[in-house]
Amino acid sequence: MIEIHLILLFMIAAAIVAVEARDLLSSVVAIGSVGIGLSLAFLILKAPDLAIMQLVVEIMSLVILVRATMRQDLPFSMSGRWVFNTFSTVLFMCVFLGAAYIALKNIPLGGGDFGIASGVYLREAIPATGAKNVVAAITSNYRLMDTLGEVAAIFTAVVGVMAIARRVGRPR
């Protein structure tokens, strides 16, 4: 799995650039490249649905982020307890990565077998639902409640943004 390692290293490098760049527009473009790398990783990990979805979602959020960062500067201040805060954050990250190393030490990538539900879905997708794409069979037949919640969430987001960004309000 050398490809996935290379893509992950590229994503980490682009994420560090996105975090540390002084210019907000450069940072937004860097987060776009992180999303494209994630789309490639999904394609390599045999999830073409998610690759398409990640690509279009990335472009959409990139357009809206560029709209949000037009003509605006980036303040950079080092006041406060800068050293202490950075040290504690890095310490927490080291503890987190150490615990993750201990927990994931014996788990190989792509090794194990999956649970009962996935086996049932893979076996009975075509006879029970008629869908050749098993992921679509799960999201639109077996777990339709999930998709209903997803649509409710995006509908709530639309209503919320239109309520936040409304133009009528108190007169200025």
Partner: protein
């Protein structure tokens, strides 16, 4: 930049390719059961094509064609139809007209293969473009220009 629109080359190419982009979005969203894709990806492509129109032809022309209440109406209608179709599938035909939709295998397939992705495409496409329009109109300089 946004008000005046882009050059004539970009406008002409956009006029030619716009239909193909929308056709590809419908293909992606209705192809979800036999290949990669799905309603959500198709809906985002629809929204991106409208954003493309708005960037190329300017704000006024895009909003003259597609009013804000049309977008809101499309989103709400898509959400209601999606809720009805999902309820039919949950209850196995215990809602009005549900027995007709769940009667045969072809009707069930039509329900889950055409209705649900199409409604999802409607909701996502209209809703995300409405969000983009709202965020563009929110800007302070634009507000002073228009008032």
């Amino acid at each position: 930049m946004i008000q005046k629109g882009m050059s004539v080359i970009v406008k002409t190419v956009t006029k030619i390719t716009l239909g193909f982009i929308l056709l590809y979005a419908v293909y992606i969203s209705l192809n979800g059961h036999t290949g990669p894709g799905g309603g959500f990806a198709g809906g985002v492509i629809v929204a991106l094509s409208f954003v493309h129109i708005m960037l190329v032809f300017g704000k006024e022309m895009a909003l003259k064609r597609l009013r804000s209440y049309v977008l809101r109406g499309l989103t709400c209608a898509g959400a209601l139809i999606f809720l009805y179709a999902a309820t039919v599938k949950f209850s196995g035909g215990c809602v009005p007209f549900g027995a007709f939709l769940e009667k045969s295998v072809s009707c069930r397939l039509f329900n889950s293969e055409i209705t649900l992705p199409f409604c999802e495409m409607l909701i996502i496409g209209a809703g995300l473009f409405a969000i983009f329009v709202a965020l563009v109109l929110l800007s302070k300089s634009d507000r002073y220009d228009s008032e």
